[in-house]
């Protein structure tokens, strides 16, 4: 694994992100990573709050298009996150908290699939089944965890 991290970090793009001092490399990628977070977690927070029962009169079916934003934000962050990782792979790749974050993201994505299936189903404007509500509560906690672990990665060197 270590040799892979070293190879990754030695790529010219990784080197550019890590060493370029302009605002167009690392800082700009970091900005897009924050926007992606706002889109992914922000939209998922809204969907889950509604499914949990907050903001009840809002038809669940009206939130269908929000999944497009969720997946777009996720794609943006998969790309920007990989670039940020590549720049400091030998450091970040050895932090347990980084793998905690990746695990939480995997769970968050796995939870998004059944939530999307429910929101897009014909009966989504009826009662929200308690199983779906449980998934929504779990998703809220998981995305809070993703943000928290992500923030700590920047400080635990």
């Amino acid at each position: 694994m270590e040799s892979f991290f070293e190879w990754l970090q030695a790529l010219s793009v990784s080197n550019w992100i890590a060493t370029d001092e302009s605002i167009w490399s690392f800082p700009t990628i970091l900005f897009f990573h924050s926007v992606g977070m706002g889109l992914t977690a922000g939209v998922m927070f809204m969907i889950c709050l509604r499914l949990v029962g907050v903001g009840r009169p809002l038809p669940v079916s009206s939130m269908r298009m929000l999944f497009k934003i969720f997946w777009a934000g996720f794609a943006l962050n998969a790309v920007t996150g990989s670039l940020l990782f590549a720049a400091h792979a030998t450091i970040t790749g050895n932090q347990p908290i980084y793998y905690t974050k990746l695990t939480l993201i995997a769970i968050g994505v796995a939870l998004a699939v059944p939530l999307q299936k429910f929101v897009k189903s014909d009966g989504s404007d009826g009662n929200v089944p308690s199983a779906v509500r449980g998934l929504a509560v779990a998703a809220l906690a998981v995305w809070v965890g993703v943000i928290t672990t992500g923030r700590f990665i920047a400080y635990l060197q």
Binding site: I23, F26, P27, L30, F31, S34, V35, M37, G38, L39, A41, G42, V43, M44, F45, M46, L49, R50, V54, G55, R56, P57, L58, P59, S61, S62, M63, M65, L66, I69, W143, V144, I147, T148, G150, R151, F152, A154, Y155, L156
Partner: protein, 316 residues
């Protein structure tokens, strides 16, 4: 050339004079039993609370310029700052209560319930604390307001508790290695909450999610305000502890400017009847769409300049 000291001298009249004016409207609204006047006074309190954040922060910039001048007491500035911070806390609480008043009035057939007495009580306390802070602040550069033979009242008046002062916050930030990252994590959770509500509300205005009437978004709005409150509290803790990193930071100036504009935009959309009248399938007028797009843009700007604090402005 106008600098941040000028700006502080200009902005410091907003929370002092402004709260008294807004309080006058509030009393008039009670006397005349006028819902319109009540909403007007709430809107004014909300706007003043926003500007007060900038008033407080420009104070730190003024401190950096003034504290070493002959005849200026650094101790008096510190006392003024502490009094101002306490006043700011109550000003922001008043602003949040006022927003809830506007929000409650937007409920179908709703009226402001607990918001009116809350704003009344909080604004009375705020006016007293602002007067106290302003009085101490005046003594910094206007010794002529003192009676002959007396000295500035360095220890008088209501001050922020020690735990909220710069030195205490700074100590905590440096002695607890997890303190700063925890505040950062909360700041980004607040960001996501706020941005999620901004997206949902404004996407509806822009024409997405059309099978929802705008009024259905109503219950989600306090979650956006919760995000804003989390970020104001954590943001002020960053600022109070490390003010020197921010006061001359151009990225920070733009961040605050974008935040104030976005806040004004939130106020306008809360008051804007055209938006609230949108029923199922309705299309919003072009002005509303322009405002909705500008609101998303402004919050993206806040995120951009926040993220650029270390890189454009050299913080940390």
């Amino acid at each position: 050339m106008v600098n941040l000291v000028h700006l502080h001298l200009l902005l410091n009249h907003v929370p002092t004079v402004g709260t008294i004016v807004a309080f006058g409207f509030l009393l008039l609204a009670f006397a005349k039993k006028s819902d319109d006047l009540l909403r007007g006074s709430f809107a004014l309190f909300f706007a003043i609370a926003l500007v007060s954040l900038a008033t407080y922060m420009t104070g730190h910039a003024a401190e950096a310029v003034m504290k070493d001048r002959p005849g200026v007491s650094a101790e008096l500035i510190a006392v003024h700052q502490s009094a101002a911070f306490l006043a700011l806390v109550f000003m922001e609480a008043t602003g949040v209560a006022a927003w809830f008043g506007l929000w409650q009035a937007r409920k179908p057939g709703g009226r402001s319930k607990w918001a009116s007495p809350a704003v009344l009580l909080l604004s009375v306390i705020t006016i007293a604390l602002m007067a106290n802070a302003a009085n101490i602040g005046g003594e910094i550069i206007h010794p002529e307001i003192l009676a002959p033979g007396t000295h500035p009242s360095v220890t008088s008046g209501a001050l922020a508790p020690y735990a909220l002062r710069g030195a205490a916050v700074r100590y905590y930030q440096f002695h607890h290695p997890n303190a700063w990252p925890t505040l950062e994590a909360l700041h980004f959770i607040g960001l996501s909450l706020l941005f999620g509500v901004v997206l949902v509300g404004n996407l509806r205005i822009l024409g997405f999610m059309r099978n929802a009437p705008f009024i259905d978004i109503h219950r989600l709005l306090p979650w956006g305000v919760l995000g804003f409150v989390i970020n104001s509290v954590t943001g002020m803790l960053f600022f109070v502890g490390q003010a020197f990193q921010y006061v001359d930071n151009i990225a920070f100036h733009f961040k605050v400017l974008f935040m104030l504009l976005a806040g004004a935009n939130v106020l306008y959309l809360t008051l804007f009847d055209d938006v609230w009248a949108l029923g199922t399938g309705d299309n919003a007028p072009a002005t509303a769409k322009l405002l909705a797009a500008s609101q998303i843009f402004l919050w993206l700007g806040v995120i951009y300049f926040g993220r650029m604090l270390p890189y454009i402005g050299g913080a940390f």
